[in-house]
């Protein structure tokens, strides 16, 4: 073929253009995120300078601090400064912990990551089979039951579910450990490596710690997993219905393949492509849901950090945590778009 290299070049340039577009959208969205938090920081009633020097500082000190932190500059210059710092991960110092906000967030983030990951895994474990069964037995009692279970999941205030979960499974039945991430007996002897305690316990082959950590995480993660399952099962069902109506399913039946093979081997494999994007989105949702869950379970992650800072008017920490959660959320959203385009050859034409 004479025009093969030319076509390939055209394809490559189309891909480069798509990537460029992707980077541009990502940059604009992140800039928007920073702009919104900057705006929030402007309209709030707390004077950031007074928060640093205290409200009994003499006027000269206040003026000096105002100059030092750049609050005497025009607003657009302040914004540029803010963007520059935010991009470098500098969100100022937390009044509450006296550490740089980024250092605090780096410390607490693994806890949230671990909780959201285990939650998503639980959601997948139950959500996909239920969604597939609902699609296969469409219109049956099972289908309706999955639908109602899902809608209840959407309708559940997670902090309330968490409180009831603690009441039943911790206080009454004693099946799981209570609030917190690790038992007091291990808290000072266990040295985390990655910050993901389950993983750390496995690395160190410390099974008693693993049991304790697992027993702490299983309840909050299951509750988040339920919310995630509600979403995943619904989407799985709709994707599967779409696949089961395709002609290749008819062809496979005509060939005499077993129904199980058609459903799990053929249809689900094709439904897996859009499902990957759903998983990324569900992960993002759990990150958000973890804010309230962590408050209920005293889980030392970024959600608890955010709400604690809120209640103590620690605005640097609030805005820093908002930017970090927002950035991860946006990144997951964009990633799910990108994955969809990469995994599904049909969208690449």
């Amino acid at each position: 073929m004479t025009n093969e290299p030319g076509r390939r070049r055209k394809k490559a340039s189309a891909l480069a253009l798509a990537l460029l577009r992707f980077v541009f959208i990502a940059a604009v969205t992140f800039l928007g995120l920073i702009a919104v938090t900057f705006f929030i920081g402007r309209v709030m009633p707390i004077d950031p300078v007074l928060a640093i020097v205290g409200d009994r500082a003499p006027a000269s000190v206040v003026a000096a601090a105002r100059q030092q932190y750049g609050f005497d500059l025009p607003v657009w210059q302040q914004f540029l400064l803010y963007v520059q710092k935010a991009v470098q991960g500098d969100f100022g110092t937390s009044v509450l912990s006296t550490y740089p906000v980024m250092q605090d967030i780096r410390r607490v983030f693994p806890a949230t990551l671990e909780l959201a990951t285990v939650g998503t895994l639980i959601g997948l474990l139950f959500g996909i089979p239920l969604g597939v069964l609902a699609a296969v037995k469409r219109g049956s009692f099972l289908d309706q039951a999955v639908r109602v279970i899902g809608l209840i999941g959407y309708s559940m205030p997670i902090f309330w579910l968490g409180l009831l979960g603690l009441l039943v499974f911790y206080a009454r039945l004693g099946w799981v450990e209570g609030p917190g991430r690790i038992g007091i007996a291990y808290e000072y002897t266990f040295t985390p490596v990655t910050g993901l305690y389950l993983l750390d316990a496995i690395i160190q082959r410390d099974w008693s710690v693993f049991r304790d950590v697992f027993s702490h995480i299983i309840l909050p993660a299951s509750l988040l997993g339920y919310i995630s399952m509600a979403y995943i099962s619904r989407m799985t069902r709709s994707f599967m219905l779409n696949e089961l109506a395709q002609e290749y399913v008819v062809a496979a039946r005509a060939k005499g393949l077993s129904e199980a093979r058609i459903i799990w081997g053929h249809a689900l494999r094709n439904a897996a492509v859009p499902l990957v994007t759903v998983i990324a989105l569900s992960y993002a949702t759990l990150l958000e849901g973890s804010v309230l869950t962590e408050t209920v379970f005293s889980w030392p992650g970024i959600g608890l950090y955010l709400t604690n800072s809120l209640q103590n008017a620690d605005m640097n920490a609030v805005l820093g945590a908002t930017i970090v959660i927002g950035a991860v959320f946006i990144a997951l959203n964009l990633l799910s778009d990108l994955l969809y385009q990469l995994l599904d050859p049909r969208t690449r034409s």
Partner: protein, 308 residues
């Protein structure tokens, strides 16, 4: 030509007539078909019933509530378990929880109605203007929309309330700010569908101004899909409002807001579970009602997706 009138045909036949004699008959007939599709879905009817009950309870809260929602019997009725006198028990201030839940329905309704009244028009205007104007206006407006859409709603609302200060009005504003982007998206999609149609061209030729075209000829086309989407979002709004209340950022005491009631019952969860459990039940039932209703509405108004 003498058209058979209603008295000869009966309502059903008149509504389902293949040859409607007037515009209103055709319109009523379509509405009747939608209603039939809607009521065929039992879950959706349950949802509708729950929402009607919520409205009823909110209107007649003064008559239905057996006790005062704010003033309790501190000496004789603190933290009583549910019994015949207090169906849902009493809280630490000796207040009847049932009465508080009943009055709380007013706050819930207040929040969702105001959020819908603020967010839906913003989305409608942004979406229709972007869709009709096209070009740079469209690109810029949609980028802004996408930025807000990409935000985690609860986190953004939290940050806004932190800036505005706690309170139910500020919570409503914060939730509305985070709720409009999907409406703008929908309104824009609908606008793009009708933008190049003949009737728009006709009014353009007649010299209608862009403002008039958007207001009078495009917006009405977007309303029905917008209503469905708003209904679907109501449950989420209730949950976020309750979450803000739970964190102490929404309605302030002694207002009987359900989320704040759960927060105040949190201290007693291990022994007096009903203080937190009952208001949470109310949130669950109402938001489930909206979810069931929205689900049914979507199926009924969009026959293509029904059963999907």
């Amino acid at each position: 030509m003498s058209a058979p009138d209603i008295s000869e045909m009966g309502w059903r036949e008149w509504l389902l007539s293949e040859r409607p004699q007037s515009r209103s008959q055709a319109r009523l007939g379509r509405a009747y078909m939608t209603w039939r599709r809607f009521t065929a879905n039992q879950l959706a009817v349950i949802g509708l019933f729950i929402i009607l009950a919520l409205v009823f309870v909110a209107i007649f809260a003064g008559l239905l509530a057996p006790y005062s929602p704010v003033v309790g019997d501190l000496r004789g009725a603190r933290l009583l378990p549910p019994d015949w006198a207090h169906w849902m028990g009493t809280d630490d201030q000796g207040r009847d929880i049932l009465s508080r839940v009943i009055y709380g329905s007013r706050l819930t309704l207040y929040v969702i109605v105001l959020v819908a009244l603020i967010a839906a028009p913003i989305g409608l205007i942004v979406g229709t203007v972007a869709g009709y104007a096209g070009g740079w206006t469209d690109a810029i407006l949609m980028r802004i929309t996408d930025i807000f859409l990409a935000f985690p709603k609860l986190i953004l609302a939290l940050a806004f309330v932190a800036a505005l200060g706690p309170g139910i009005e500020n919570a409503i504003i914060a939730i509305a700010i985070t709720s409009w982007p999907p409406y703008a998206r929908i309104a824009r999609a609908e606008t793009l569908m009708v933008r190049n149609s003949d009737y728009i061209k006709a009014v353009e030729i007649m010299g209608a101004s862009p403002g008039r075209i958007i207001m009078r000829h495009i917006m009405p086309m977007c309303i029905s899909s917008l209503i469905v989407r708003v209904t679907l979002d109501m449950a989420g709004i209730i949950i976020i409002a309750a979450g803000l209340g739970f964190l102490g950022l929404g309605a302030q005491p002694p207002l009987p807001e359900w989320g704040a009631m759960i927060a105040s019952g949190r201290r007693f969860i291990l022994d007096q579970w009903w203080v937190a459990a009952m208001p949470g039940m109310a949130i669950l039932v109402v938001s489930l009602g909206f979810n069931l209703l929205g689900d049914g509405l979507r199926d009924a108004l969009d026959p293509r997706s029904s059963g999907q």
